[in-house]
Symmetry: C2
Subunit: 284 residues, 2 copies
């Protein structure tokens, strides 16, 4: 199986990652699924490569069959030992013992895109979700989420919002996320959909968090050491309110401009890293 991957990789110029640590991977959506598939190959490698047992959770999507099969094919073609689509469409299905067993023993879990509120509504506070969270936080499984699957990573979640306005409360719909990376508020398709103002709004409302905007075909990788590593085509934007001296984010009315003084921003590119504890960026 490894032969197959390697030859395929060479033909499409995939760089096969040498590292294989488990990680939480936050993907900004629209990751390359056709050419080098760099981010998906990275996920595959971190899930164990030829030994990977991968669970695809397509529940954010209203077309879970189509999206499930698409990722299923990709990871099978890479040579994963086992790939299963965990097509949860009702909360009760989270109790399915066969699926629970697969989630408990798999090496990689992939949340697809779709609607983050739908994913949250189906999975939150279920034993299966608790299992995913605990295994991911203990680095016993590689967990990736793309687009909606990325948005759910924080404790607070941006459920929707707008652009083309100065930061204000009505620009961002806040909800509760799945709490895998509770210290972060994640936004995705970030620069592609001009979401800086809505992330700034979210951080002004929750200044105890750090904002992380992930561009399309870009990934923030957490190996469990409080560091983010960046890979992919765009940037990961960090919005750090740690030194903020003033905001009216907690008290403004809808539509009123949000003010923030002393916000620190980093645009992290391929290979750069960020230490969430030290709140420091490093060139990579």
């Amino acid at each position: 199986m490894l032969q197959k991957i390697t030859s395929q990789s060479l033909s499409t110029e995939v760089k096969m990652p040498h590292f294989k640590k488990t990680a939480v991977m936050v993907i900004g959506g629209a990751e390359d699924k056709i050419h080098g598939k760099e981010i998906l190959v990275n996920f595959f490698a971190r899930s164990g490569g030829e030994n990977a047992r991968i669970a695809i959770i397509p529940s954010a999507s209203r077309e879970p069959v189509i999206i499930g099969i698409r990722y299923n094919t990709i990871f099978e073609e890479m040579g994963a030992k086992s790939v299963a689509v965990i097509d949860i469409r009702e909360r009760e299905q989270c109790d399915h013992p066969v699926w629970q067993n697969y989630i408990q023993t798999c090496t990689g879990i992939f949340f697809t895109g779709g609607d983050q509120l739908r994913l949250w509504a189906l999975l939150s506070d279920t034993p299966m979700m608790e299992m995913i969270r605990l295994r991911a936080q203990a680095n016993k499984v590689t967990l990736a989420g793309t687009s909606a699957g990325a948005a759910v990573m924080g404790h607070h979640m941006i459920a929707g919002g707008g652009s083309g306005e100065c930061p204000n409360r009505s620009l961002t719909d806040m909800a509760t996320g799945l709490g895998i990376l509770p210290e972060l508020i994640v936004d995705q398709h970030f620069h592609n959909r001009n979401r800086m103002a809505r992330l700034l709004s979210a951080i002004a409302i929750h200044p105890d968090k750090i904002g992380m905007g992930v561009d399309e075909d870009t990934c923030a990788i957490f190996e469990g050491d409080d560091k983010i590593q960046v890979t992919g085509k765009g940037v990961v934007t960090i919005v750090d309110p740690g030194e903020m001296s003033y905001t009216n984010g907690h008290q403004v009315d809808n539509g009123e401009p949000i003010r923030i003084h002393n916000l620190r921003i980093h645009l992290l590119g391929y290979g750069d890293s960020y230490d969430l504890k030290q709140r420091a960026a490093s060139y990579g």
Copy 2:
């Protein structure tokens, strides 16, 4: 005349500013011209109120007659002593002695919107522009620019650009401005047109400058003491690279993501101020 303004102001709930210091006023475009006209009333007051002699320079616009008359009517109705449209359509007209004399003796100059490259091409390096710059920098006249008229204020000027991409060199077309506030790179219609990424790109390319994004119907006011005061409906966004620890802005190819580590951002609202020397924001 003052009576007329006051009654008009009351009827449309205009707050007549008490301050009348001359200033450079950087307006983010689309300022209210119908209801309270707060920013335009502020300009009128800083130009001397009933004693104001106002020059409107509509040269950024391809419809200078229409836009010239519009502002002419507004300032006449406010009660200005004299209003003249300096409708420069060829560089040679900058030498017109009657216009030069008016520019030399007027109390307020207003650059309208349009195309900043057009305004620059007609005015740059002319004796009239030098007169405007010197008088404005010496606080001998109130100079306001809206939209394109705001964009020209810096030494470096954003002539155009895009959105919906991560910061990169091709996202912003840099040109030379009129250098009235040389330490700044000004962007306008800022959050309204999702211009954060292009301003970040501009600052990564010119990290010796400070970025200033001004929203529509919002104004950054410079009274000549190195401070910005903010008025209007949106926010003024300051992008301060003073503590930047890394950028690839000077060396990236077109399209390659721009990285920036340690950028300081302020979103300043109504009444807030910013000290360009101290690089410090204050709540107002």
